[in-house]
């Protein structure tokens, strides 16, 4: 054992993280990178609110405002929310199903580095002649006309990071299908694992549409094709369809894991089994299914005609049914439970009314005839911030507090956590509630300023004040993280005391092989079941034996770096002579490292039985 756990210098730790294929370390990488991009997107949000605080403001120019607005949306969706969700999926899902790692550890690492380099590439646009400025949706009529390289950064950067997300999604699917511990049937899987499963399926089916759309955009902008140019026989609406065929499932990709995290929280802190587990599973799958039938409700005003509009309106409203099932199940889970108001639970309780408010405005927007009034107004801005912040960001904060001990072995300070919650909750509603009315009063979205005397002044100022509350909340969370890390008070297996699922049965943070012996699952909420029968831990499902582990690898980093280099070559191909060579060199790096990976035999290594027996915990534990 002594060879496995030793103190390492900074360089060694850095190298360890650059090469790691361990799902728990990749989760931490996702958390750090996603957290960084979250701060970046938050900074952009603050600039937006400062610019709009007073009429006729010139804090930023119109062009720069478009870039900030575009990068706020793009960063928050692709580079903050998704990776942070992937962080929790990576950290928790394999533990919840009793697996020692994901199915393809190498691909897991590759997925992270692709996302990371794609995100860095996209953000380098700030320093290389201007960021993308056509909105996060990058509608083709705007993006084809956009000057400079902003949109090229968008298309290439998202293409690279999208490939990483797709790899991650497939990896999770295979893991959940193939690597569940003995006795872990589908209907005994924790709700967060179910959410991960459905989300990964959505990623598998939705991301190819984005990939195709982005390739068409890349070809239109960089290689002279005319898919989206009406003057040349193309059709600009095709981009919108491709984007939303991806984009609508994307919002469910974000919110389903959020539902999963909240389902865990409600059960843990109400000390009750999740109410209506099977209907929760059904609702999750149904939301995933319906998520593919509704994309055109983003395009009611493009002139699809009354029949198409009616079909998509009805399909959209149907989604309220499974979502309603979930809401009631959470309420019934709390009903009669022994509720403790911990920080995660506060977020979860605040999530219900906030998200329902966003859902109700969603049904309003789903009605095609009404949508003609709301379209492109601040009402829409208020709606999607209510569902994404009130749903996803609340879940990310809640999940960070809930799973922090499992990921790092220390508890975040509860008092500071509650202050974060109060400030953020107040700030969130202050910022976005008033925006419903701004929209109804006629303020269009995506404008960089407005004139005095239109009745928008007070409301915009209120909204900006709210944004500062949220910024303060995030700063307090960062302080909390620093304090907790410096104190470094380690906690045990089940720091919340009421853990129900498998991850709470093993140490925090878990050893790198997760489970010494795979646990035997005897029902839903497997660990709770054992605790209620007076047992300390899970019963093992196998005798103690050698554990096969994968070797670390630097190749995923190099593969991703090659694409990063190639993207620069592709972009500057037309105006610099070095473009083509750089493109070729980048592709050679990528393909060369893939070739090395293919021909080099890497069978991993074994942790021997004797090393596992060494540890001094008494009795047999899973």
């Amino acid at each position: 054992m002594s060879t496995l756990a030793q103190k390492k210098g900074f360089g060694a730790v850095l190298w360890d993280y650059l090469t790691t294929v361990d799902h728990k370390k990749i989760a931490i990488l996702y958390l750090i990178a996603g957290g960084f991009f979250f701060l970046l997107g938050g900074l952009e949000a603050m600039f937006i609110r400062i610019q709009l605080a007073v009429p006729n403001n010139d804090f930023v120019s119109a062009g720069l405002y478009n870039e900030i607005l575009t990068m706020h949306g793009t960063t928050m969706i692709f580079l903050a929310a998704m990776p942070l969700i992937f962080a929790f999926m990576n950290a928790v899902m394999p533990l919840q199903i009793g697996a020692r790692d994901v199915a393809f550890p190498f691909l897991n690492s590759l997925g992270f580095w692709l996302f990371f380099f794609g995100g860095v590439f996209l953000n380098l646009s700030w320093f290389l002649g201007g960021a993308p400025d056509a909105g996060w949706t990058s509608y083709a009529s705007l993006s084809i006309a956009s000057e400079g390289h902003g949109i090229d950064f968008y298309a290439l950067g998202l293409q690279i990071s999208g490939a990483g997300t797709l790899i991650g999604g497939i990896n999770f699917l295979v893991t959940i299908i193939n690597m569940r511990a003995p006795g872990m049937t589908y209907m005994r899987m924790p709700m967060f694992t179910w959410a991960t499963f459905v989300t990964s399926a959505l990623i598998l089916f939705a991301f190819p549409a984005l990939t195709v759309g982005l390739f068409l955009l890349i070809f239109d902008r960089m290689f002279g094709s005319n898919f989206f140019d009406p003057a040349m026989g193309g059709n600009t609406i095709i981009w919108e369809h491709f984007f939303w065929i991806f984009g609508h499932p994307e919002v469910y990709i974000l919110v389903l894991p959020a539902f999963g995290i909240f389902s865990e929280i409600f059960a843990i802190f109400s000390r009750k089994r999740l109410f209506g587990y099977s209907s929760m599973v059904f609702a999750t799958v149904l939301i995933g299914f319906l998520g593919f039938m509704v994309w055109a409700h983003h395009m009611f005003t493009t002139g699809m005609g009354p029949i198409a509009n009616a079909i998509f309106a009805v399909a959209t409203m149907a989604i309220a049914v499974p979502t309603g099932i979930k809401i009631f199940n959470w309420l019934f889970t709390m009903w009669g439970g022994s509720i403790t108001f911990t920080t995660p639970m506060l977020w979860a309780i605040a999530f219900i009314p906030s998200f329902v408010a966003g859902g109700v405005t969603g049904v309003m927007l789903a009605s095609a005839a009404q949508d003609y009034q709301y379209h492109d107004s601040y009402f829409v801005v208020a709606h999607f911030h209510y569902v994404i912040v009130g749903g996803v960001v609340f879940a990310l904060f809640a999940g960070a507090h809930l799973y922090w001990p499992k990921m790092f072995g220390t508890m975040l300070n509860e008092f500071l956590g509650k202050i974060t919650f109060v400030l953020f909750f107040i700030g969130f509603h202050l910022t976005f509630f008033i925006q419903h009315f701004l929209g109804l009063w006629g303020m269009p979205r995506r404008i960089f300023t407005y004139l005095p005397g239109q009745g928008f002044e007070t409301s915009n100022m209120v909204s900006t004040v709210g944004a500062f509350f949220m910024a303060a909340a995030v700063i307090i969370l960062l302080i909390n993280i620093v304090i907790t890390s410096v104190k470094n008070e380690k906690v045990g297996n089940d720091p919340w005391g009421d853990g129900r699922t498998l991850e709470w049965a093993i140490p925090s943070p878990p050893p790198f092989y997760n489970f010494k012996q795979l646990p035997l699952i005897r029902g839903l909420d497997a660990y709770w079941l054992e605790k209620m029968e007076g047992k300390k831990g899970m019963s093992p499902a196998e005798p103690l034996g050698d554990i096969h582990m994968p070797n670390n690898s630097f190749i995923p980093f190099v593969i991703s770096f090659g694409l990063f280099v190639a993207a620069f070559g592709a972009m500057y191909r037309a105006e610099h002579s070095w473009g083509i060579p750089v493109l070729i060199v980048g592709m050679l790096i990528t393909l060369g490292s893939m070739f090395v990976r293919s021909v080099k035999d890497d069978h991993g290594y074994h942790i021997h039985k004797e090393d596992l027996e060494d540890t001094n915990d008494k009795g047999v534990k899973a």
Binding site: L173, I177, A201, L204, F205, A209, N235, I237, I238, H241, I245, F292, M293, A296, M304, G305, A308
Partner: protein, 111 residues
């Protein structure tokens, strides 16, 4: 599993049963192969025959193609065997999503 070779040392493996299964499997493959060749010939004949209009030939060949894909998946790629529930679920879901997309493009954009 009938598609595995009976080479394990397990005395409980019923080699007779395996053999019977394999023979049955082989018969199915030969029949399917013959049918697929036949369907291909039918498709060529349909395309070559002057009397049919394009409105008949195109859907007809598409249907034949669909049947061939199903033969391919179920008899040659062993999707009819046990243990293929998850792959077939995802295959059908993917086909469904693709189908919805194409239908929407045909009816909403290009109509």
């Amino acid at each position: 599993m009938a598609n595995q070779q009976p080479n394990s040392g397990n005395p409980r493996v019923d080699i007779e049963y395996r053999r019977k299964k394999s023979a049955e499997e082989m018969r199915h493959q030969v029949i399917t192969f013959a049918l697929m060749i036949f369907l291909t010939i039918v498709a060529f004949v349909a395309a070559g025959y002057e009397g049919f209009s394009g409105w008949f030939i195109v859907p007809f060949i598409l249907i034949l193609a669909l049947v061939q894909v199903i033969f391919q998946l179920y008899y040659f790629m062993h999707m009819s065997h046990k243990g293929h529930e998850a792959p077939s679920l995802f295959l059908y879901s993917g086909a469904f999503v693709g189908f919805i997309t194409i239908i929407a493009f045909l009816t909403v954009i290009w109509w």
